[in-house]
């Protein structure tokens, strides 16, 4: 097995396994560490702008990737979304939300590294994960000129290859060969992206699991009874 096969055939499963098992174990065993570690108490400077931009950007980018990569090709076509439309939506949505995320991330990174109170109270993983996400984001954005080139040529092949590879992973039929002719910048971006999943359970990212979506539909009062329910 060469490095390519390992990185795009095996590594995704290592990352996903650790991501899922690690999250479950940490949730079960370390409830007190299951939190976002907000530093708002220490310093509010730049947080409102930076955090909102970053979160809006990154959430949009995440769902963009999920939909774009995991929706079967024929499903798009049956909806009447042509490959080129798909490509252009990906490029534009990616640029806009990736840009927002990058801007917000840069503000947060600056704050985390240079604000003395934040910096000294940060753990190593806090600084690492923010930096890693930023690099991943940057790499993602660097694919845009390449994608624009493809779009210009009217060639959606790389996009389709990437989606098919992603689906091959999810279908447990890994096919690293699909990526052999993809531009290097995509491959590097993929590696960084997968690594985010790998380190996820060891960082503050676990708070993503507990996004308080439930609050939206929650009744006014939640009580428990001493009566035993089964």
């Amino acid at each position: 097995m060469n490095l390519h096969d390992f990185l795009y055939g095996v590594y995704p499963y290592i990352a996903l396994s650790i991501f899922i098992l690690g999250s479950i174990l940490r949730f079960d065993r370390e409830q007190y560490t299951w939190k976002s570690d907000s530093s708002q108490l220490l310093s509010k400077a730049g947080l409102r702008l930076g955090s909102n931009l970053f979160h809006v950007g990154i959430i949009a980018v995440f769902f963009g990737h999920a939909v774009g990569l995991l929706t079967p090709h024929h499903f798009f076509l049956s909806l009447g979304v042509s490959d080129m439309t798909h490509q252009m939506v990906a490029i534009w949505a990616g640029s806009i939300f990736g840009g927002l995320g990058l801007l917000g991330g840069a503000i947060l990174w600056h704050r985390r590294m240079l604000n003395k109170r934040i910096s000294v109270t940060s753990r190593g993983t806090d600084k690492f994960i923010l930096s890693w996400l930023l690099v991943t984001l940057l790499l993602g954005l660097s694919t845009i000129p390449v994608s624009l080139g493809h779009a210009h040529e009217g060639n959606p092949g790389v996009m389709i290859a990437l989606a098919e590879w992603a689906q091959s992973i999810v279908h447990l039929r890994p096919n690293p060969a699909l990526l052999e002719n993809v531009d290097t910048v995509f491959k590097v971006h993929l590696f960084f992206g997968m690594t985010v999943f790998l380190v996820f359970p060891f960082t503050r990212l676990v708070h993503v699991w507990s996004a308080p979506v439930g609050y939206l539909g929650r009744p006014y009062q939640v009580v428990r009874s001493k009566r035993h329910f089964n």
């Binding site: 079960d28 009580v223 428990r224 009874s225 329910f229």
Partner: protein, 1251 residues
Amino acid sequence: MSHFLDRLKFFDKVKATFSNDHGIVTNEDRQWEEAYRHRWQHDKVVRSTHGVNCTGGCSWKIFVKNGLVSFEMQQTDYPRTRDDLPDHEPRGCQRGASFSWYLYSPHRVKHPLIRGRLLDLYRAERKSGKDPVEAWAAIQADENKRKSYTSVRGLGGFVRASWDEVNEMIAAANVHTIQKWGPDRIFGFSPIPAMSMISYAAGSRYLSLIGGACGSFYDWYCDLPAASPQTWGEQTDVPEAADWYNSTYIIITGANLPMTRTPDAHFASEVRYKGAKIVAMAPDYAEFVKFSDLWMPIKQGTDAAAFLAMGHVALKEFHIQQQDPYFQEYARKYTDMPMQVMLRKQGDGYVTDRLLRASDFDGALGETNNPDWKTIVFDEKSNSFIAPNGSIGFRWGEEGKWNLLEKTGADQRETTAQLTCINHRDDVVSVGFPHFTHGEDSLLYRNVPVRKVKLANGEETLVATVFDLQVAQYGIDRGLGGGNVASSYADANVAYTPAWAEKVTGVKAADIERTGREFAYNASKTKGRSMVIMGAAINHWYHNDLAYRSIMNLLHMCGCVGQTGGGWAHYVGQEKLRPQAGWAPIAFALDWHRPPRHTNSTSYWYFHTDQWRYETLKADTLLSPAGKGKNKGSTLADYNVKATRMGWLPSMPNFNRNSIELAEEALKNGATDEASVAQYVAGQMKSGALDVAYADPDNPVNWPRNLFVWRANLIGTSAKGHEYFLKHLLGAQNGVLQESGAGRDSKEVKWHEEASIAKLDLMVDINFRLNSTGAYSDIVLPTATWYEKNDLNTTDMHPFIHPLSEAVSPGWESKSDWQIFKTIAKNFSVLAEKHLGTKKEVVALPMQHDSAAELAQPFGEVKNWKNGECDPIPGKTMAIIKLVERNFGDTYRKYIALGPLMTKLGNNIKGVDWNTDQEYEELKKHNATVKEPGVSQGMPSLEEDIYVCDSVMRMAPETNGEVAHKSWAAMSKKTGIDHHHLYAGRHEDKFTFKDIQAQPRKIITAPTWSGIESEKVSYTAGYTNVHEHIPFRTLTGRAHFYQDHEWMLDFGEGFCTFKPMVDLGELNNLPKAVQAKPHLTVNWITPHSKWGIHSSYQDNLRMLTLFRGGPYVWLSETDAKQVGIEDNDWVEAVNHNGATVARAVVSQRVPQGMAMMYHAQEKNVNVPGSPSTGKRGGILNAVTRVIIKPTNMIGGYAQLAYGFNYYGTVGCQRDTMVAIHKIADKDVDWLERPLTPEREAQLNPVGIGAK
């Protein structure tokens, strides 16, 4: 079971709904609640307390979980009080409740620490083949080596070392010091034994065994009221807090009850519900003011004036205008009011002189024993002068007449002492009373009725009663004519009227008058249930004894002292070491060697930190025009040196020679025994070949060399003149902003142009937290906290004795103080065996109070042998000289065993002796006996802390009914009165450590104290004097209004008078930068702390969170505005002593003209550099300097005789002025720079030389 699996049951979450689906019922997992339950779960609960000198003495539950202390909580199982009294508990305050933080805090000293440079030097010497003592000697002999570590004291640089290595070094330093300089160059400082007596005893026992000296603390802290021994011959006996509840009228001044007596303050609230009136006197709106019905906002430091004016009212209305029968009987029986004072002609009138004595009469009125010490009253029954029972002459050399029964000493006839001769007077003469108020006459002549007496020498003299003189001195008009008396309270020109007091104090005359009248009226109706609660705020002044005497006068006029619900209640650093009689033999190794070396710390530090070299207070300005003035031209230091030469106060070191060499020399020159050695020493003193060490404190021969500090924060809080300590004693970076020179005028103290720097070879701090004292030490040893050792604790505030217990083993490498000194003793013995062997040494001992030596110098006449006025006679005109033999190699074996002198010489306390044979035998069985072969094999063991606790309790009358019986039997013999009923119900009681761990025990009534433990009255001071007729331990045997010692009269303090704050000229050479800026000049007040107590809590994270997070100074709103200071600004307080930096708290609570920096805010948290000194910001005492008072040095004269923590100079610090200015935030310098050679060399502030 699994949080994750639970989550998977998402769709099953809603079990029911209610309120139209606005609410849901779930059965979500409740496991998270366990976290909160675990927080309060514990494995065991252990009883302990806090060994801090708040003297709260509160019993606490210590909760232990997994071998760690998790929290503490107030115990509520004290024995109940009687039915008509509220209970004591719950006791404990926020500070105590947060103590467990320290155990695992970053402050904790976890391992032995040593200054890295010193360790390198020592290891290098040891490596070169020298043995430990030689290695230490080699370092000390090399100026540069020594300086390399002394000059970086306070600058960090500690490294971890092993117990073995530091113990060896400490032992080597002690051995070397004894060999080269003498044992008394080793000094120990530790305060307030009562807070953890075994820990105190550990260091003091070690030091006493090797001949080292222990320094006093009560006087050094200025908590010691000198007025107490002056008046009663007793040091601080006060009511328990519960007795406040028995009062019906209370004046509170200078004691902030809710803050510093938190666990007791409830009694003050409760007694108000019962209807008592409370009057508060305080310059600021202090916390205790809220208890009061009337607040008198008094100008700080003028309390004496207000109380004298109240006394004026009480005396006039209840003794002159009408004679209250209770007051008159009390004055006659229990005070010196009827005693006869001789008058001396001076100028056109007279001044008061000494009390008349039996020996002044022909045939000494039939008195053969001590007639010089028996004072005289005029007996109304026989119409003649007689010497009544109870004066000090009856205390020594005879038995059965030392009592306050109204009888003649000679033939035990019934008598009635006459208070005034106004109706039987021979004459009326004009007597001058010294007066010290600025802008008023310095001698106020008033007319006094007198009698004529023919003396044994044929001369005739005039005498007046203390009562008649006192009435005149208060300025009350009795229709005898003459000036300086007032017929109206509104006469502001006559001293001591309410109107006069209003001028001085700022308190409305009407308030003073009403309070004086009500106080007396209440006492008259209730037989003395009027009380004054007082404390630090009025006691920390130079003339504190006068402030206190003004209060005691009022109390005695109104018959309050000795009555439940009445009397003085002095609460500041006071301690009641209840089982003192059982503790002292162990603490001072009296079971092996007598006497131990004790010294009064104030004088000690005054000389050894060279504060005397800077003395700006001229003693001559304090002298009275009515004195003999033989000492005109002397400096304060001169007075102290004279006092030590005359055997009044100790000098430590004793002599300017090694006491071992001195003994050898005496023996070589023909002396054979103690008496002839003493003769030799006296001869050497007379020839000038030998002198007291204080006569030349800058001579390296007289320097203190080794210092142990334990249970204390000497440098960080209690060092008045903090910067002088750093400069001269330690040789460290210091902020003294002047050079010495003012002390050059001293005639008795040798002046060296160059001052001494870094006198100490070694400073060892034993502590559980690294505070400022540790930071300046050379070695810091980790000790057990109050939850990690077994010890005993008692207090004035309640009558119980309770334990400190080892709830968890001492953390990290720490050990209890008893074990630490045990291992030091062991190391010392090994080295001493080789280098010292057995040696005899000379020990000088001042004439002690409560021993026959207090009769050394009759009539209060001062005869100084140095001036040729007499010969130096040991024990008579100079110190008592003792010869003590020590086998230094046996130190450890002696430390761990209760020694043989307990059976050979027995035990004693306050002049009462008894035999301890039975207790000694019991302890052999109760404790183990010593197995270690040698001098102490088979004796009761003191190896374990609990053995020591049990030995103390077994030997003390307060905790062993049998000992109470023996000591009271001895007392009954002395007084001729049967006191058996006081303890009879508890004869069989014996406390052990396990008993008091189960529940605090109420102590047994003992002759050590003047109050009783009873089911009928609460403990109050003076009770047995008044109700059992046991005399006060004074010259007359009664409470004294009048002091007749020559030095008292020299300084105009025969009667209590008002003296204003002294001027020390601290602002004469302010730094130019400060002069040029807007600044305040204010009086520097250092009250007892809000969030800390002396040695801890201030830097406790929880307490810091409550207020400002670091040091702060309170300023008046108006003052602050004038110089542009806003709340929370950084400010600097500066004067010639140094500077300190803190945040300003600007408040309307504080009056103009004063700044308050609460006590014990030290250098270790949030303290920036000072712009004036360039050194780290300082502490509350960085701007103070100690000044000593000659009248506090008097000795060898009845109640005015030295006793450890009983009498002596006090470390006052409130008569201090500072300049305060704002530091802009941008100018705050945190000094966070590396140590460069230039910075290291710059010990003093830039521009200040080494002098």
